[in-house]
């Protein structure tokens, strides 16, 4: 497959080209059983306020205690982003009043984050690999949730999310298009899912992004940016950026000025709009949280975590193309999810890797997507799919029959070899038997025989008839050869 032409990243306006500059702050919920500073459960769902400890509700005299698991996950994520790990970092209080924030402050990391600068490689569909700089990663608490639609004059507060650990991953302004923004967020998600540090489940709000967008003439200094808050899907990131870019270009081309502001993305209307009278000069009065000592660990701890990291998608892709001879495209698809890659590897082991890739990508993934299942819940095991591939390889069944066998295994389970045996699906390679069928069809269709002699393309019709008569089991190659011989005669 030839790579499509590298598209221009510039956006055409009425008065010429514009360059888009995007930086993202991705908020990823840390995969952990307990919250960042309390022992309360992080389980999704549950009755409102079912997962709230005294600390989360900010009762008098309660103190935060750092959850070591969240720190471990943040460091592992930092390693996955090829970033500098800071052996000493500080938790600060970000002070503001809101009913979803029981303490009256969010515990976050302001001046000294746990992870510093890093870099992520993002493969674009046209074959280019872009490098996106990571500015920092820090740990912070999530807020609770307000429910405004349960009472005519009051709002309800659900603190289940209050205190859940988030990693805020801040990129440098290195992204140049909505496609890059989407691909970057998608890559972060893949990396974190490989690491098991964030489940990346957008529907549960596990991954959200604040997207900073500005436009400029190519080569000009940075334009004024707008921040689009809390975009909760990769698709919406693309839509929000596209809308925002058009909006900004229109303002500038009409001779206007971009106001630096915070905007919201309305996914129903597909547009961004300024947040209402957002406290202009919000002063968060950051200061180090005196309830918490600085977070410190040593190089040995980081080395230990490093040694336990799984193979990450970039390395895996290199290995798949090198060791299995896969195309870059196939390798990309297979490494996009760790479970998918693992599945593929198990099937490919000792078999034709390209065939395995085809089956995993086309048949299995297609079928799983159709039923909304993921690899963990695949009804067809790697051993079963492997057996199907073996049966094809041994010439026991044709590719077409293989699809039927796959379907049977999907629905009913069982050993493919036994299924083929029991249901008589074995390919018929007995030339005598096939010849008999061929002769039969020829005898029944003298008119078609005449036409076929004039038009070779009619051969296909005869092949189809023979295959049908054999219940798909006749060896297609043998059928072809016999028909060719007999129709020419």
């Amino acid at each position: 497959m030839a790579a499509p032409d590298k598209p221009s990243k510039l956006v055409k306006g009425a008065s010429g080209d514009w360059e888009v500059v995007i930086g993202m702050e991705v908020h990823a919920q840390v995969a952990s059983h307990a919250k960042l500073f309390s022992g309360a459960s992080t389980e999704f769902g549950g009755a409102p306020n079912a997962h709230v400890s005294l600390v989360d509700a900010a009762m008098p005299g309660m103190l935060p205690v750092i959850n070591a698991e969240c720190v471990r996950q943040a460091v592992r994520t930092g390693l996955g982003l090829n970033a500098k790990i800071n052996f000493k970092s500080v938790f600060d209080r970000k002070n503001y009043f809101y009913p979803d924030l029981p303490q009256g402050y969010q515990i976050s990391q302001y001046k000294s984050p746990v992870v510093g600068e890093g870099e992520v490689a993002v493969d674009m569909p046209h074959g280019e690999t872009i490098k996106i700089g990571i500015e920092r990663l820090h740990l912070e608490q999530d807020a609770g949730k307000l429910l405004h639609d349960r009472h005519p004059s009051m709002s309800y507060v659900d603190l289940n999310r209050s205190g859940v650990a988030l990693m805020e991953i801040v990129s440098k302004p290195d992204l140049r298009s909505s496609d890059e923004a989407k691909a970057y967020m998608s890559k972060l998600r893949t990396i974190m899912r490989y690491l098991g540090t964030c489940d990346g489940d957008m529907e549960k709000g596990s991954l959200r992004a604040d997207v900073n967008v500005s436009v400029r003439r190519p080569g000009a200094p940075l334009g004024t940016r707008c921040e689009i808050k809390n975009v909760n899907s990769i698709r919406f990131v693309g839509q929000a950026v596209d809308y925002e870019v058009r909006r900004q270009i229109k303002i500038l081309e009409d001779g206007g000025k971009i106001e630096q502001e915070t905007r919201l993305f309305d996914s129903d209307k597909g547009e961004t709009r300024a947040m209402r009278n957002k406290e202009e000069a919000h002063d968060y009065r950051y200061f180090p949280d005196p309830d918490l000592l600085p977070l410190e660990f040593d190089a040995a701890y980081v080395e230990y975590l490093k040694s336990g990291l799984p193979e990450l998608p970039d390395e895996k892709k290199v290995r798949f193309t090198r060791d299995f001879g896969l195309s870059a495209y196939d390798a990309d698809v297979l490494v996009s999810e760790r479970a998918l890659a693992d599945y593929f590897e198990a099937v490919a082991k000792g078999r034709d890797a390209k065939a395995a890739a085809n089956w995993v990508i086309n048949e299995l993934t297609g079928r799983l997507n159709k039923e909304g299942k993921d690899f963990a819940a695949s009804p067809v095991s790697t051993a079963q799919l492997g057996a199907v591939l073996d049966l094809i390889g041994e010439g026991v069944i044709s590719g077409k029959i293989a699809k039927d066998v796959f379907e049977i295994v999907w629905n009913e389970g069982g050993d493919p070899r036994a299924i083929v045996e029991a249901r008589g699906l074995k390919q018929v390679t007995d030339v005598g038997a096939i010849e008999k069928m061929v002769d039969d069809i020829i005898a029944k269709n003298p008119d078609k025989v005449e036409q076929a002699k004039a038009n070779e393309k009619l051969l296909g019709w005869f092949v189809g008839q023979v295959m049908k008569a054999s219940g798909g089991k006749a060896n297609p190659q043998t059928v072809n050869e016999l028909l060719k011989k007999k129709l020419k005669a």
Partner: protein, 491 residues
């Protein structure tokens, strides 16, 4: 019955052992004394039923030989400590109806060791004050009076209720919290012993926070040895407070009475401040003489940044307080004053829920943390704090075992005498005590004499980190030399 309320902890324990009286009888005697002393306003909540229940349980444990170290000892608890099922308001209107479902670690330790809860004692609102006058529950009147005068005297603050209750023999001991002197100043004003241990020695979990980096719990008692026994139960590592320190709790009581021969005691020259009354100077000199007589050596030391301690303290403490008190917003518990929207609810609740001194400190704290002022105030104050800590480290590194200073710049003042005008005049009361909080060190106030009007005066001993034992040894020497002080009952 009066006699039962004048016992020391050791005497009470001996009495139980010899079956001279029961824990229930001891508690009843104190409940009666509390009832008779309501005019002092030392208690904001009496818990007689719970007290008797706990005392009876103590008697049962004494009978089966499973008594804890504080078995049957009736105590008063400052209203800053959360007590499960017992209203805890920090003497603020904003928490007027707050009943915790949980027990602070320090009080839980006391109950674990068998102590009995008599009730909650009065304090300055959220422990912000030096006279107990900022309490939403009204001021405490000290059991002490000037000779020949009926003028009501302040017991000091913020732990004024606990200090007064111990001095008036309404309990055998009490808990306090000390952020800038809130245990040591009232102890000095009431002729009681009060110790603020090293930061991290006692857990802060379940104590209503004022300034997290400065707050520490400690005991009040009528003798050095009793204070040592109480601290021994209160102290200890707590996983729920990551600033608490994991090191064993020594036998503090054993340190009281230990020889101080050969100890080098630092006398910080910067504590000789302008306008210090002659009798304070004299008391300090007397203290030096007593320690010298017991074999210690006096060494002049310099703590050059002392004069910056008070201003720096009044930046750091309000800054932390402004953030710590943000949770009192009328949303989840405590007072709620409705408003047309959430902002109005916040404003009205906090305007009506907090008293003037608390509001003042929240405003100061908000100001010093705000953009444009943060570096000039908060950051500089933290630098000063580092220098103050270093002053002490240098002095201790020079071979000094502890330091001796006055506890307060004067004896107790009358209620209303200092609360009318300039708040800074009140803040100056903490001039000898705040340095100790800023440096995180242990400090004890021990009664050492009476002023010309017959009001108690105290001396402060400042120790090395986690060396409370030396403070108890030195304090015991002063107590032996000075004697113990008891107000005449007039209430």
């Amino acid at each position: 019955m009066t006699a039962l309320t004048s016992l020391t902890l050791a005497e009470a324990r001996a009495g139980f052992a010899k079956k001279q009286f029961s824990a229930a009888e001891l508690t009843e005697a104190h409940l009666a004394a509390i009832e008779g002393a309501r005019s002092l306003n030392a208690f904001v909540l009496e818990t007689p039923e719970r007290a008797l229940e706990m005392a009876k349980a103590s008697d049962a444990r004494i009978a089966t030989g499973t008594a804890g170290p504080l078995e049957g000892i009736p105590l008063a608890i400052k209203d800053m400590f959360c007590t499960a099922g017992v209203r805890t308001a920090a003497c603020s209107r904003i928490l007027h109806n707050f009943v915790p479902t949980y027990e602070s670690t320090v009080t839980a330790n006391l109950w674990r060791d068998g102590a009995v809860l008599l009730g909650k004692t009065n304090n300055d609102e959220f422990a912000m004050g030096s006279s107990n006058e900022t309490s939403h529950c009204g001021p405490v009147t000290s059991p002490w009076r000037r000779k020949g005068s009926n003028t009501p005297i302040s017991p000091g603050g913020s732990s004024g209720g606990s200090a007064a209750a111990v001095a008036a023999q309404l309990c055998l001991g009490a808990t306090g919290t000390d952020t800038g002197g809130s245990i040591r100043q009232p102890a000095a004003f009431t002729g009681t012993v009060g110790i603020k241990p090293t930061y991290g020695r006692c857990s802060r979990w379940g104590i209503v926070a004022f300034a997290s980096s400065l707050d520490q719990a400690g005991p009040f008692a009528r003798s050095v040895r009793d204070a040592a026994l109480l601290l021994g139960s209160m102290a200890g590592h707590d996983q729920k407070d990551t600033t608490s320190v994991d090191r064993p709790v020594p036998d503090y009581a054993a340190a009281a009475g230990r020889s101080i021969k050969g100890m080098r005691i630092g006398i910080p020259k910067e504590y000789r401040i302008d306008g210090m009354p002659a009798e304070i100077e004299k008391l300090w000199e007397q203290g030096r003489a007593w320690l010298k007589a017991a074999g210690a050596e006096m060494v002049e030391v310099s703590l050059p940044h002392t004069k910056y301690a008070l201003p720096a303290y009044y930046i750091v403490a309000p800054a932390e307080a402004s953030s710590n008190l943000a949770r009192y917003d009328g949303v989840r518990y405590g007072l709620r004053v409705p408003g047309r929207d959430i902002s109005a609810l916040y404003e009205k609740t906090r305007a009506e829920g907090f008293g003037p001194e608390v509001r003042r400190r929240i405003m100061i704290g908000t100001y010093v943390l705000s953009a444009g002022y943060f570096d000039a105030y908060y950051v500089r104050a933290q630098k000063v704090r580092t220098l103050i800590k270093k002053d002490f480290e240098d002095a201790f590194a020079g071979g000094v075992h502890a330091m001796l200073t006055p506890a307060t710049p004067s004896a107790a003042f009358g209620i209303g005498e200092k609360s009318g005008g300039d708040p800074v005049e009140m803040y100056l009361n903490d001039v000898f005590t705040v340095t100790v909080n800023m440096a995180g060190l242990p400090g004890i106030s021990v009664p050492a004499g009476l002023d010309a009007h017959g009001l108690p005066l105290g001396l402060q001993l400042i120790g090395r980190p986690f060396d409370e034992e030396t403070l108890f040894s030195l304090g015991q020497v002063i107590e032996y030399a000075a004697g113990r002080f008891q107000p005449e009952k007039w209430w």
